[in-house]
């Protein structure tokens, strides 16, 4: 009896060696951190002032020390009696600490910071003492926003992106259905069709900028099949003479946005296709057979038997397409930089342009645009979370 009591007591007792070791490491780390932050002091102590390329090394030293300190702190906590008694309640927070901390600092808190910037006038600078130089202006930025024609152009283009980008879902489904067969080499076809998604959007943008080039792009080549002929000029050189000049898609303010969206659809269709291909893999053959017995064929089969089973795939395809559409930035930055005459701006690009592009430095105004974009996105995010919540409840 006595031994078991002793054991159970021992199991929950603070292990003093563990706490002591961890405590010493933690204290050392904090001490180093304090001094390394004062780089100048350390450099003076060591007798060299200019030799060290200060910033990156100190950062690394700090990072390593911080990591060791966190490790020591976690180790310390696990040695405490209070942790041992409430292991199952405390453990998740220890596992979460690092990831959640970093995510909070870099993602969650900045959302609210951005919102608060949107009520100020600020150029992103601090004065020499490190004081904030902005001023509080209330709703001023939002008032300007409502009178800004560029804002409406961007908003209109965002809606255009959202609507036209949705074409990726049915086209992706169509290609998936087309490829959903078992013939030799189909796997290679599937992965080659998926190719565009793997390529960086910047590269896709460059490819299409070139393809749209009216002088020697892909499109001008097709154009010349119908409208141009090659003639020998007086000098004896071959020149191309066109009855109608090829259009400059990205140079025309009425077509540029459509041109970029078409380019953006290329990888997005590939993404939707792969989602549907995976979905089709899991369509139950029994239900298909049952459908066939009931006389369902072609479109009817697709609509009433196959599509309902593809619902999860459709849901994800719609979500990623909406997010892709609202995040469109890389393509615009590579293909037109918002031009011609601001006609291809979307909120994402316009915000960037106002805040840091062209040296404008309108942090407050940029944040107001970002907040509007965020609120639009929030509608979709909430819907997505709500759907996930329903799934979770069902799972329980």
């Amino acid at each position: 009896m006595a031994t078991t009591e002793f054991d159970s007591h021992d199991r929950f007792a603070t292990s003093s060696t563990q706490v002591a070791i961890a405590g010493i490491i933690l204290a050392t780390c904090l001490f180093i951190l304090y001094f390394v932050v004062n780089t100048a002091m350390v450099q003076e102590l060591l007798g060299y002032t200019q030799r060290m390329h200060a910033r990156v090394p100190t950062f690394f030293v700090r990072l390593v020390v911080v990591i060791i300190a966190i490790g020591a702190a976690l180790y310390l906590v696990t040695g405490l009696s209070v942790y041992k008694r409430n292991k199952v309640e405390w453990a998740p927070w220890l596992f979460l600490a690092l990831g959640l901390g970093l995510f909070m600092i870099y993602v969650i808190i900045p959302i609210f910071q951005s919102m608060s910037y949107s009520f100020t006038k600020w150029d992103g600078l601090y004065d020499i003492d490190g004081n904030w130089t902005g001023e509080w202006v209330g709703l001023h930025n939002y008032k300007i926003l409502l009178d800004d024609p560029n804002f409406y152009t961007s908003l209109k283009n965002n809606i255009l992106w959202l609507v036209l980008y949705m074409l990726a879902v049915p086209i992706g489904l169509f290609i998936a259905l087309f490829l959903n067969q078992t013939v030799r080499g189909i796997r290679i076809y599937k992965s080659l069709f998926f190719f565009p998604f793997v390529i960086s959007q910047v590269v896709v943008g460059l490819i299409f900028t070139w393809a749209y080039n009216p002088e020697f792009g892909l499109l001008s080549e097709f154009w010349s099949w119908f409208f141009c002929e090659t003639k020998e000029n007086i000098m004896g050189n071959l020149t191309r003479v066109c009855s109608v000049d090829p259009p400059s898609i990205l140079g025309n303010e009425h077509t540029a946005t459509y041109g970029i969206i078409a380019a953006g659809l290329w990888p997005q269709i590939a993404y939707c296709m792969i989602l549907y291909l995976t979905g089709l893999n899991n369509v139950s053959p029994d239900q298909i057979e049952a459908g066939q017995l009931d006389g369902a064929k072609g479109w009817k089969m697709l609509w009433y038997v196959v599509l309902p089973q593809l619902k999860p795939a459709t849901f994800i395809a719609v979500v990623v397409t909406v997010i892709g559409a609202l995040r469109s930035f890389d393509m615009i930055a590579t293909m037109t930089q918002g031009g011609p005459f601001g006609s291809t701006n979307v909120l994402a690009y316009y915000m960037y342009d106002q805040a840091v592009g062209e040296g404008v430095g309108r942090y407050g105004y940029g944040s107001a645009i970002a907040t509007v974009l965020f609120l639009i996105m929030l509608v979709y995010i909430s819907y997505f979370l709500w759907r996930m919540y329903q799934d979770e409840k069902e799972a329980k």
Binding site: G99, P110, S114, V183, S191, L206, I288, W299, V306, V356
Partner: protein, 283 residues
């Protein structure tokens, strides 16, 4: 039309299908093929309008060599690796921990915190941009590769946590419970029991996150300025300005930038698709 398997149709149809496949693929990848052809032809071809015909001479090595010789392309590629690999390791590593915490422990914050990660993962970058710049300036890590790595690691932790949590949730819970009854410590359960079981998820996430970060353009433009630390996506954009109208070089550089993720995809196809299509089948 689906779902008639092609083997059951007439042989004529089968032939038509087998013929249609390469044709469709050709048109689908036409922009890519065309840019590849451009990248191996001499500049003179483009000048005289021979953009699609047979190249007058093959300059595969000359053109790609010129990209490396005339620009910092090699440096850009190395920088991208220096950004992508540590970010990938950090975010996947952190997500193993957070995913485990959110999947295994049944505390009341588990679901709200999980949703926080999911929601954060979907926000537009622009709402994060200025505060992140501000934090980086304050920590004196703006314009440095570690600064960008830290941000990428933090942001991608959102997606990785979503993935990991769902993956771990699907593991048999009894396994963990019985280990706990045996008196195995919480961290030991994670390290020796769960981690070996989630290896496929780790592989899928690594491939995916590597590609995401390799292709990142926005954050590199925002957080890096010095030419010597730029990644390839930004580098290629800059080259586009330098090589005005030298499309054979621009296309070669673009294809160079696209190469590593493409290779990654082909080598790790199964993992890549498993990662992307998470959730597309359940329910």
């Amino acid at each position: 039309m689906f779902p008639t398997p092609i083997e059951k149709s007439t042989s004529g149809k089968q032939w038509a299908y087998k013929l249609a496949l390469p044709i469709a693929l050709f048109f689908w990848l036409l922009p890519l093929l065309a840019i590849f052809m451009t990248s191996i032809r001499p500049a003179s071809d483009i000048a005289v309008g021979n953009v699609f015909g047979f190249p007058s001479s093959f300059q595969l090595f000359q053109n790609y060599g010129e990209v490396f010789a005339k620009t910092n392309a090699l440096q850009y590629l190395i920088n991208t690796l220096l950004i992508a690999v540590p970010s990938m390791v950090l975010s996947v590593g952190l997500a193993c921990l957070t995913g485990y915490a959110l999947a295994i422990y049944r505390f009341k914050w588990a679901l709200p915190l999980f949703f926080l990660f999911v929601a954060g993962n979907f926000v537009p970058f622009q709402i994060l941009m200025l505060p992140v710049v501000d934090i980086s300036v304050k920590m004196e890590i703006i314009n440095t590769v570690p600064g960008l790595v830290l941000f990428h690691a933090a942001f991608q932790t959102g997606f990785c946590t979503l993935f990991m949590r769902n993956f771990i949730k699907a593991l048999p819970y009894e396994l963990i419970e019985s280990a706990r009854l045996e008196g195995v410590g919480e961290f030991k359960i994670f390290w020796y029991l769960v981690l070996p079981l989630v290896k496929p998820a780790i592989a899928a996430l690594c491939v995916l996150i590597f590609t995401f970060i390799w292709n990142d353009f926005f954050w590199a433009t925002v957080l890096l300025q010095e030419d010597s630390s730029l990644p390839i996506t930004v580098g290629v954009r800059t080259l586009n300005g330098e090589f005005v109208q030298q499309w054979h070089l621009v296309s070669a550089a673009s294809l160079l930038a696209a190469m590593p993720p493409v290779l990654m995809f082909f080598l790790m196809q199964k993992h890549f698709i498993a990662g992307l299509t998470l959730g597309a089948t359940k329910g």
